[in-house]
């Protein structure tokens, strides 16, 4: 079976590339049907208000208007997490941010639908609005939601692994730092769109630009009170996702309901401004960290606090909050660790999972914190990191199981490639280099809603003509997931990937895959595809071997042939192999599925952080800082990424470069800005004023692929879509310090902040810009979990506070 790999690792064209470059790919807004109506949502103009009344009568009478919906028409709440079912398709009694949808219209044209929304009169009774997490801490009332841990806290977490205070006290040095990470948004080039169709046999079909058709399917069934069997969700190829299309959305439910009412297809395409209101992007996060270290850099203990500004709804927020504390432990050995995290509700667009989900913020804090520690200890920051690496195949203090671990190799690559030793602290003023590392999950160990079914399923059908069709619920968002399925099946069956038809993201046709999030697809759907393909190969092999009169284990599958490895001329075409198997057994189809290994942690909250495999990255950023203006430019980034094994190296590099791009935007300019003093309105919901780097800001990227195959990944593959983003922000911050000697403990690192810090330094004050304090938060009693080296078994010894009551709105 140990054939030379013909597909895996090669830089092949993606299976959807030709459609993408010819404009043939049909995105959701490209769909049109006869008699199709257009939907428009009326959104709240108040950040926090009771809805006293809504008068839709004038809108309903407008020429061309076919239906108008308000909140009462869709009273059942939904939300991505079972613990945060706090959204309604249209606000019922309360609007929670400017942009919250309150009514929906379906009309013959988009123009008529827009005109109709203008005619809807909403009478609001304004409530005090909450513009920031700090304000939410200060003002438990009025509560934005009537559920959550306390006041305007959505979630409060306190987890302690070992005695962190005692551990920290053992350090030769203790360092404390504060950091702030501003919110940012995904900004996919495709604005969300959806088309719903209702058929007279009571079946609903929804085409939508979603990363998670399975969760949309569940939400529709719940809110519309339809049997799931009567609902078909088709995820159209996403014109960029990055996490922003991972929740079930108001507009998806609204068009579905409007299609049911009118019996006609209904389409909605959000405007760019509305995409900002969908958001679910990076949580603005304030962080405090305290670490004890030995003189040689060994960490003796760490205490980390985070305060997340969640925006108006739950979304993935509970998971995001746990993620701000989970992955600190998988890079550098931390023997005892205390994490406290809080998520506040505010009257802004809801935050959620953006590329790196909850981990870029703490990673920024940690990597800048380590840079400061290294300087204080007089150790090169690359050396310090190398000395403290978590070993491969080990368990962390918080019970994350690290498998393959290529971070050491990654650091070596970028240190060598960037000329780190010749540059660090040696460049002329204004120029600098900075180093940072990171790690990310290859899919989450637990599903979003509790169940013990597989996370990914694949069905495979072999055609007697030699073609193969792969069916999988995974969703192509540009990352190449359709291609991964084809490559893996092609490798196992020895056929050309382009002989394979890939059918994905369709709840009627494909087995469930949980969706394109958490960097889970290559590993999970890849493993499912691998299993299905190996099962098909076994079936084909039995009959081919019989026909060739050789033992099964002498067969090779390659170049569309099945043949005797010892005598390659002796064999048959792949199509003939399918035909003999089909003649003997009937139609040839197999299934494969994947369930991640059990997590080692058994404490409450242990569900966030475990993954079948962790990717690792190391990054060196070069910066030029203009000391007169504070303007920072990044000419080059060197990045090494431990992807386990590349399934397609060109696609891996594409993910690395794209991650660097998005990280660079977050590092230097991207910001979800609100005007707290002007009704908490989003300051800049446009592609012009939300600053996404252009070709002229993008840096050169020198990519090194480190391949440290992980036994849990298909062919050893780990994730690449998110991890390489994480080290960019801290590497740039550390490089700015190297260049001009000031610490910007906050992203984005804007010229204003750099110049302020430089001015302070000139005056003899600390050359730093960043947060000054962390508010007092009513943390619950910590849940104490003994570490593995204290003999712990992954369970908590003290329960912490009582389990959250399942308070739900309505």
């Amino acid at each position: 079976m140990a054939d030379k790999r013909r597909v895996i690792g090669k830089a092949l064209r993606k299976v959807d590339a030709a459609a993408k470059v010819t404009g043939a790919t049909k995105f959701a807004d490209d769909l049109a049907f006869p008699r199709m109506l257009f939907c428009k949502l009326l959104r709240s103009t108040q950040p926090h208000a009771r809805i006293v009344s809504i008068d839709t009568s004038a809108a309903a009478k407008l020429d061309g208007v076919q239906a108008v919906l308000v909140g009462q028409d869709l009273p059942i709440p939904f939300g991505i997490l079972p613990v945060s079912q706090d959204e309604h398709a249209l606000c019922i009694d309360k609007a929670r941010f400017i942009g919250d949808p309150v009514a929906a219209v379906a009309a013959l044209t988009e123009e008529a639908a827009t005109a109709a929304t203008d005619l809807i009169r909403v009478d609001y009774e304004p409530l005090k609005s909450i513009a920031s997490a700090e304000e939410a801490v200060e003002h438990p009332e009025p509560r934005i939601h009537d559920y959550g841990d306390r006041g305007n806290f959505h979630k409060l977490i306190d987890l302690e692994f070992g005695d962190a205070n005692a551990g920290i006290a053992e350090g030769d040095m203790v360092r404390e730092d504060l950091f702030f990470f501003e919110g940012s948004t995904h900004l996919p080039m495709e604005q969300h769109a959806a088309v719903a169709m209702w058929s007279p046999d009571q079946k609903l079909t929804l085409w939508t630009s979603t990363q998670t058709p399975h969760y949309v399917h569940r939400a529709l069934a719940k809110v519309l009170e339809l049997p799931a069997a009567r609902i078909r969700v088709i995820a159209t190829p996403n014109g960029g996702g990055f996490g922003g299309k991972s929740d079930p959305f108001n507009h998806e439910i609204a068009v579905a309901k409007l299609a049911m009412i009118t019996g006609r297809p209904v389409k909605i395409t959000l405007t760019r401004e509305e995409v900002f209101y969908c958001h679910r992007g990076r949580h603005p996060t304030l962080m405090w960290v305290r670490t004890g270290v030995k003189k040689d850099g060994a960490i003796t203990g760490m205490h980390f606090r985070s305060l997340l500004d969640g925006g108006a709804y739950g979304s993935y927020g509970v998971a995001s909050t746990y993620y701000t504390g989970a992955l600190q432990t998988v890079t550098y050995h931390i023997p005892c660790y205390h994490f406290q995290g809080a998520r506040a509700f505010t009257n802004k667009a809801p935050c959620g999972p953006k590329r790196g989900h909850g981990t870029p913020q703490p990673r920024f804090a940690l990597e800048v914190h380590i840079d400061k520690i290294a300087e204080q200890l007089g150790i090169d920051p690359a050396e310090l990191r190398l000395k403290t690496l978590v070993p491969a195949n080990s368990l962390t203090a918080n019970y994350l199981r690290v498998g393959s671990m290529g971070l050491g190799k990654c650091i070596a690559k970028v240190v060598e490639g960037s000329g780190w030793k010749q540059k660090f602290r040696k460049l002329p003023r204004g120029r600098g280099v900075g180093l940072a590392c990171s790690s990310y999950i290859s899919g989450a160990g637990l599903p979003i809603y509790w169940n013990n079914m597989p996370h990914s399923g694949v069905q495979l059908k072999c055609d007697r003509g030699g073609g193969v069709t792969v069916f999988c619920g995974s969703t192509e968002i540009g990352q190449g997931s359709d291609s991964i399925l084809a490559y893996i099946v092609a490798e196992v069956l020895g056929i050309d990937p382009f002989d394979i038809a890939v059918v994905t993201g369709d709840t009627d046709l494909t087995p469930v895959d949980l969706g394109s999030y958490s960097s889970r697809v290559t590993l999970m759907s890849g493993n499912a595809a691998l299993q299905a393909a190996e099962r098909a190969r076994q079936i084909l092999a039995v009959h081919a071997a019989k026909k060739l009169e050789i033992p099964v284990d002498r067969l090779s599958f390659a170049e569309r042939r099945v043949y005797d490895a010892k005598d390659p001329k002796r064999g048959m075409s792949f199509a003939e192999a399918v035909q003999s198997a089909e003649a003997a057994e009937g139609t040839i189809g197999t299934v494969g599925s994947y369930t991640p290994p059990m997590s080692a942690g058994k404490y409450r909250g242990a569900g966030v952080g475990p993954s079948p495999a962790y990717s690792y990255s190391a990054c060196v950023a070069a910066v030029d800082v203009d000391p007169e203006t504070g303007i920072v430019r990044v000419p080059t980034i060197w990045i090494a990424h431990d992807v386990g094994r590349s399934i397609n190296s060109a696609a891996v590099i594409g993910q690395v470069e794209g991650s660097i791009y998005m990280g660079l935007g977050e590092a230097l300019m991207e910001e979800m800005a609100y005007r707290g003093n002007r009704n908490v309105v989003h300051k800049i919901p446009s592609l012009l004023e939300y600053k996404s780097p252009t070709t002229l800001e993008m840096c050169d990227v020198i990519t090194y692929l480190v391949e440290d195959p992980d036994p849990n990944g298909p062919f050893g593959a780990k994730e690449v879509g998110q991890g390489p983003l994480l080290p960019v922000m801290p590497a740039v911050a550390n490089a700015v310090y190297d260049a001009v000697g000031v610490r910007i403990d906050e992203v984005p690192i804007t010229p204003e902040k750099v110049l302020k810090a430089l001015r302070k330094k000139q005056k003899g004050e600390p050359g730093r810009h960043g947060p000054e304090s962390f508010p007092d938060i009513p943390w619950p009693e910590p849940m104490r979990v003994p570490t593995p080296w204290e003999g712990g078994d992954g369970k908590a010894v003290s329960p912490g506070r009582p389990a959250i009551t399942a308070e739900r709105p309505h």
Partner: protein, 329 residues
């Protein structure tokens, strides 16, 4: 999808036709050239003409004659001309406008007449409703300065400050006939009434002063090297008399509702060589009246501080150009 409202679209083939169509359609009609300013404004319902009269089909507006530039030349056409000292600064400014695609569409005249901008104003109708609108459109208050009787939207043209600095003249044609206005008197420091041009007048062309020893440069500050409007533009014009500054004008863009000339800064330069001291003095003079408001990208105090840096750099460039042989572009 954001769409245009309904309107009537007319394509005159001559200036006379254009004026007649405007007269017929009345105050609800507007002229359009490249459309890159007007159409987004119409989609966001800032400007709501019932009739739109395109000037792009009028040959006279697209003429170039030595020092005269037709108003409907696209910005790309302007930058594609071989650079000479005469139009180098104009060309630089034009090349710094927005993106290559928008420069293929947007025109010289359009940039010179660009609607003032403000991030309380350049928002959709629904967004503006959330702040109860603003003085410039549909509301009563200027949110930038709520007690102010006037609108503080910002002049965001790149080319206009250069035209004011070099003393260009604009030729306008209206129902009353033709008039020529110095660029400096074409603009008002008022976010709403920012042009002295009447709505029924057409900007026909721009005359650049004859070469007689002057030089000019333009420096632009913005977040990204593309797309972004200036948050500060610095246009500097110097009339050289051998190595001495005979006369100078410093004009700031992006800090007021019009291209703001700072006469004190010019005075600080007059009569001497461009020394480090005179440059610093002029930069200081320009810094003082520069009053950016909180309605564009970036923090306003930083933008004000940048006036000093950018004016100094512009002057240094002019000095380098004067003293470096062979750089006579």
């Amino acid at each position: 999808m954001l769409r245009l409202p309904f309107f009537t679209y007319l394509e005159p083939k001559s200036l006379a036709d254009a004026l007649r169509m405007k007269a017929d359609a009345g105050p609800d009609a507007m002229f359009v050239a490249g459309g890159t300013d007007l159409y987004p404004n119409m989609k966001r319902r800032h400007q709501e003409p019932k009739t739109v009269i395109s000037l792009m089909g009028i040959p006279e507006l697209r003429r170039v004659e030595s020092t005269t530039l037709g108003a409907c030349l696209t910005l790309s056409e302007l930058t594609a001309r071989p650079p000479d000292r005469l139009t180098a600064a104009v060309s630089t400014a034009a090349r710094l406008v927005s993106t290559p695609l928008l420069r293929n569409m947007g025109t010289l005249g359009g940039n010179l007449c660009l609607d003032t901008r403000c991030n309380y104003y350049n928002q959709t109708y629904e967004w503006r409703k959330s702040i109860d609108f603003c003085m410039k459109k549909d509301g009563h208050i200027c949110w930038v300065a709520p007690s102010s009787p006037r609108c503080w939207a910002v002049s965001s043209s790149d080319v206009a400050p250069v035209m004011v600095a070099i003393g260009a003249e604009y030729r306008l044609l209206g129902p009353q006939g033709e008039r020529v206005v110095p660029a400096g008197r074409f603009y008002h420091n008022d976010g709403i009434n920012y042009l002295t041009k009447q709505p029924d007048e057409i900007l026909v062309d721009v005359r650049i002063p004859k070469p007689n020893g002057w030089d000019a440069v333009y420096h632009k500050l913005r977040r990204r090297g593309s797309f972004d409007f200036p948050v500060l533009g610095v246009a500097v014009w110097i009339q050289w008399n051998r190595k001495t500054v005979a006369d100078a004008r410093i004009v700031l863009g992006g800090v007021a509702s019009y291209p703001q000339e700072v006469p004190e800064a010019g005075t600080a330069l007059r009569g001497g060589a461009l020394s480090d001291e005179s440059i610093a003095a002029a930069a200081e003079e320009a810094y003082r009246p520069s009053k950016p408001m909180d309605n564009t990208d970036f923090d306003l105090s930083w933008r004000k501080q940048m006036t000093r840096v950018y004016v100094s750099r512009a002057l240094q460039q002019l000095r380098d150009r004067r003293t470096t042989p062979g750089l006579d572009v």
